[in-house]
Amino acid sequence: MKPEGKKRIWAEYQKEIPDDHFFYVRSCIRQTFFAGSEQHFLKILREDLGKDVFEDPRHTTCTGIGYHGDVVPFETIQTVVARHFALATEAGYKHIAISCVTSFGIYSEILETWKHFPETLARTREDLYKATGRTFEVPETISHASDIIYKFRDEIARKAKYNLVDIKTGKPLKVVEHIGCHYSKMFPKYGVGGAEFPHVLTGMIEAWGGDVIDYPERRHCCGFGFRQYLVQANRGYSLFASRKKFESMEPYQPDLIIANCPGCTMFMDRWQYTIKEIDGITYGADGQGIPVLTYEEVAGLVLGYDPWDIGLQYHNVQSLPLLRRMGIKADPARRFLAKDGTPLPEPANLING
């Protein structure tokens, strides 16, 4: 593989990521599935990097799950997103930071629609005004939260307490990057590095010392697919897609998967348990499973945050071997204890627990 070929593509897909003053829109599911991710995004930006990130408690779901599940019409979701823009306008923010790839895809789709069909923007303004009395400015930029961590990856690397390196062997960890489909497949120009060779997570992994694995099914969807997983009987579709990826990356024995999409991270983590139950197969080196982390969780580890504060214990595939490899000391006995020592609920059926 010729790295200069990828650099050539990356140079063609550079988007504007602002330096500061973000209006943050949260994901519906991330706070449940990776409890510390969004919190650490805010901590890293505010405390480690000294950035201004604004949140408005009146911000709601973007209704993306309903939209992709065919129960929320496009006009409705445009109006909901317009309301978010109105909140940003009210607070004086022009740059939206989006936590979720589904939302990011929806924001991209709506902005492109408004650009190409200005009458839809006019109609949305009218709908929003009628419904809420609000008006809004179209934001100057939209960034996915991973775009922002990508932008500051070198600064994070300079403050790093740990690297994506096996401290025993000194070798870089082998890391799989997985990009949510709606990050750049619909609109490649909205993604750092485009759709075929996205740079957004690769850039972080390389800046923090890891080696990126380019395996045959790298570009394949995790199978999340909304309508597929929403119906229980159809989940075999989703499961099949994730397994296809695990089988394809298996020969490389990856230490870690980093994803930038809530659905992908959740499914690639939880499906490892399901596949273990159905097929009796556990992936990863020594059959220990492959931890699937968000980019904020990895950034948090690199910056030296406590893994149990980050919330790694609430993933199905536990990260203790990974932490040992990186030289991060974490007491397994404290995993499910609150700060004051109160026991927290312990999830069942953990892999490598």
């Binding site: 229980q232 009987a233 159809n234 989940r235 075999g236 579709y237 499961l239 099949f240 397994r243 296809k244 399901t274 596949i275 139950e277 159905i278 097929d279 009796g280």
Partner: protein, 119 residues
């Protein structure tokens, strides 16, 4: 075991629909090509299928069967080949002069040999 476990979740892992050329069995193709070299000439026009007596009332498709032979899709091939009545009408139509009737006969022979581990 797989079925039993699957019931617990209410769904199973879907099977792949993709043809994996690197794992498929092309012994039948080799057998047919060697004995009926004109088989190589098929360019999938579908003339044979259009005129096929069996194809009018059963899902027999000689054009598709040729593709299965080439890709080594044995299970699909088995279903196809049994439906041919060997009337030979396809021979008259083929613009590339493929000995279509013999392709079917040779394929059936190859499948029998495959079952007996003679390929």
């Amino acid at each position: 075991m797989s079925e039993q476990k699957a019931n617990r979740f209410g769904f199973a892992i879907n099977r792949s629909r993709a043809i994996n050329y690197d794992t498929s069995d092309r012994k039948v193709r080799e057998y047919v090509t060697m004995r009926e070299p004109s088989f190589r000439l098929c360019f999938a026009c579908g003339g044979c299928t259009a005129t096929c007596t069996a194809g009018q009332h059963a899902s027999f498709n000689l054009r598709r069967m040729n593709t299965y032979i080439r890709r080594g899709e044995i299970d699909s091939l088995r279903e196809e080949v049994a439906r041919c009545m060997l009337c030979g009408k396809c021979l008259l139509v083929c613009p590339r002069g493929v000995n279509t009737r013999n392709v079917v006969a040779t394929t059936a022979e190859a499948l029998r040999k495959l079952d007996r581990n003679e390929l």
